[in-house]
Structure formats: structure tokens, C-alpha cells
Amino acid sequence: MLYDLLIAPFVEFDFMRRALVGAAALALSGGPVGVFLMLRRMSLTGDAMAHAILPGAAVGFLLYGLSLPAMTIGGLAAGFAVALAAGLVARTTALKEDAALAAFYLISLALGVTLVSLRGSNVDLLHVLFGTVLALDDATLLLVAGIATVTLVALAVLYRPLVLECVDPGFLRSVSRAGAVAHLAFLALVVINLVGGFHALGTLLAVGMMMLPAATARFWSGDITVMIGLSTLVGMLSGAAGLVLSYHTGLPAGPSIILVAGGAYVISLFVGPVDGLLWRLVPARHLEA
């Protein structure tokens, strides 16, 4: 019974196993990246970058159809261009980084939707927007897994300046120039993870695999290491549960995964031991010291 519900879909169907591996790889790198985005108060930056990737992917799609390398390279180019342009504008003009990013990603998004609708039907647009987690081929799986590997190695290298840039950027500036490098490298990691994510989940939902597990983890621990571990775990479980849900109910797979992660977030929001809402209703008595 439980076997039929949870295990059988993956045993019986190759595409389900591929989807599971893809979702797990996304969660592996999306977990820590999401935690850092959240702690740097850049949660919406991830969202903006996800939109910014669209026109690059669309150009790739226009020129070569549904081609993995073309759409990947296009997405990377658009993502890096917007991140770099926003960073330059923020550093050289009075405009703050959030406003600069908003301006560029909106231009980018409008351009992307226009490009996609120039050719192709709405089905193609849906594919770019919502991904095809149930149709991951070998090349896409390798890409997603490769991105996860690169991300984890890069985060290990950048960990110290990245944490310090969040806590005390002034101090980091006074002892090292690594802060700016770490910041840019981190933005690059966000972009490549979103590009990896959009093949599976689409540009709009890729960021969900980062932010929802991270926000969920925040309600369960006050320690950054534990938070990163939990975030990854929540992402992986959401991937598996979302696929099962989609298999049994016929819902689209990508949104199912994100909805399950969203469910985990809402539940944690109420019952999470660190600042969960329910604990406010029953405040424990204060301590002696």
C-alpha cells in the first residue's frame, strides 16, 4: 500500500527516476544558495534574476528550438548581463541595487515574453516558464548535477568571506578585498543555479526550490550550518513528495514540487520552534535568569 503510493512510481517509470535525481541535485545546491540569499536579504533578488534569464533562454529557443546548450548559454548570458548591469548602475549612480535590478529584469522579462511569442505556440512558452521535470534527458541531468557540484565546491571556498560579508561588511572591507569577489561569485552561483533549475522547473519556479526550503529551515534552527542542512533536506523531500503527488493526481510536476515546499513553509511558519507563530499564542513563563 505504502509501497504503491511512494515507491512504485519511481520503480516502474524511468522518467520518474530521472525527475527524482534532477530534483535532488537542484535541492543539493539550491538549499545553501537559498539560505545565503535569505540571510543577505536578497530573497527577491533570486526572483528578479529568474525573470532576467528568460530572454536569453528565449533567444536560444528562437534560434535553435528546444536545444539544451542554446537555451543554457542564452540564459547564462542574460543572467550575467543583468546582474552585472545592475551592479554597475548601483555602484556608479544614485540608484540602489534593488531599483537597478528591478528596472533591468523588467526590461529583460518583457523582451523575453515578446521573443517567445514571436515564434512558437503558447505551449512552448509554458515549457520555458514552467519547465519539464518529467522529461529530463541525460544531458539535462548532467547539466543540473554539474551545476550542483560546482556550486557546492564554490560555496565551500567562498564560505568565510560570504558569511562575513553578511555579518560585518565594514570589517571585511578593512581586512580583505575578498568581499566584492565573493559577492560577484555568489551572484554568478545564483544565476547558474537558476539556469539549471529552469530546465526542470521553468524560470518562474526555479527560484522556489531555493527560497522556500531556506525560509522553512529558518523556523527550525538558529544555526547557519544546521539551516543549510535542513534547507537541502526540505528541498529533496519536497522534490520526492511533489513528484509522487503529481503522479497520483495528474497535477503538473513542477508546480507540485513547489507547492509541497510551500506547504512545508506554511506548516513551519506555525509550528517551527524558532519564532513559529503558534508558540506566540502559548508563551512559556519567563526564566529566573
Binding site: 568565510r160 555579518v167 572591507r173 578593512s174 581586512v175
Partner: protein
Amino acid sequence: MTDAVRTPDAIRFENLTLGYDRHPAVHHLDGALAAGSLTAVVGPNGAGKSTLLKGIAGALPPLAGHIRLSLGTPRGVKPRIAYLPQAADIDRSFPITVYDLVCVGLWSRAGLFGCIGRRDRARIGEALAAVGLTGFEKRPIGTLSGGQMQRALFARLLLQDADIILLDEPFTAIDARTTADLLGLVRRWHDEGRTVVAVLHDMEMVRQAFPRTLLLAREPVAWGRTEEVLTAENLMKARHLVEAFDANAPVCARDAA
């Protein structure tokens, strides 16, 4: 400034102008701070005190002139600077422990990848003990009071083991006992021969603990031994010198002359 002649200079200002948007906050400053000196920088609000420290720390490039730093003896070796800004922009909601915050003071030794060994751990323990924060190691920084946070930042300064230590209003909004403890550390740094510069507002403390004083009001009003600088006449003069920010100020012609 006769006693400054015998010891080498740690920090030398050469016709230094620092400011924002071309408007000077420190204007045509000339002079030097001797190696191992303990100097208070005082003056009214807007006199350029914090700007001067930012300039020394290298966080603000000069509009004109130079700041030269040296260890005194060997040429080419850059002195290590530790800088504690006024109201450091620390994200106190970030999940990091007091221990981790303090141990980044070892950055100049450990850097990006170096490990924290047993000897370093002993030093971190000593630094925490010196500021009276033993037992706080595992506490997240968000749970510290203002005074405890300042103690933690002083512990980090201790670990930085710097030749030049810059403190910007380190005792503002800090209670008497914490101030006394931290002032003890400043004295210790002075005894160890480090060059210490502190921006302060408490004249009584400056008179008691700081041998030398720079009274600043955009331009230096008086500079030298504290008892000679902090006279009623000088303080009055400083108060009048800091005029309102003039958006239409003409280009300074002093260098052209």
C-alpha cells in the same frame, strides 16, 4: 610638539583634505602621530573626526594630499590597521555566535582558508577573558546587549594584533563599568607600544587617559599635549569654526596660492 621629533611617525598627514562630494570635512591637515602614541580626537559634531579615521583606515580616498603610514623602522613593511567604526554596520540578526564573530579578528593570520589551531584557540579564549565575555562563546550575537557587543568587538580588536588601532566613539552609550574595562584595554595597547587614535566626546576621560589630543573643527584648532589643547579658549574657538555646510562653496584656492 617637541616630543614627537624623537620617536618615528606612525601616521603622517601631508596637506590632507578629506570629504564627500568635493566638500571638505577635514581641510588641509598637516602633521604626524608618533609611533606608540595615544591620541584623542575631539571636536564638535561635523568637525571631521570620523572622516579622519575613515581616511586613515583607507575607507575614504583623500580629495587632496596624502596619508603616509609606517611602522617607524623597517621600510616597505605596511603597518597593520584595526578600525572600529562608530556604530559598526553589523547585522545582529545573522545567526553567528560570539566566538565566531571574535575569531575573525585572526583574519590577517588565517585569511580565507587558514585554519584556527590550538594556539589560536588559546588566544581567542584569552581575548574573551580580557573583555569579560568568558562563557558567552556559544551565544548568538543577536542576544548581546549594547555593552556586551562592544566588549566582543574589543576582543576582536585584541586578536587583530594591529600596529595602529582606530576607535570611533568607542564608549558612546556604554555604561561606566564597561567603559572602565575597555579603557583598561586601550591603556594596555598603549603600554604595548601600539599607536592608538580614538574619537571621543567625554573631555574628562580625555584629560585623564589620553596624553595627546587633536582638537579638530574641519581644520586643526590645536594639537599636542592634552592639557595644552583642551583649554576653554580652544574649545570655544572650535565651536565657532564649524560653519554650516555650504552647497555653493567656491573651489578652494589655498593650493593654488
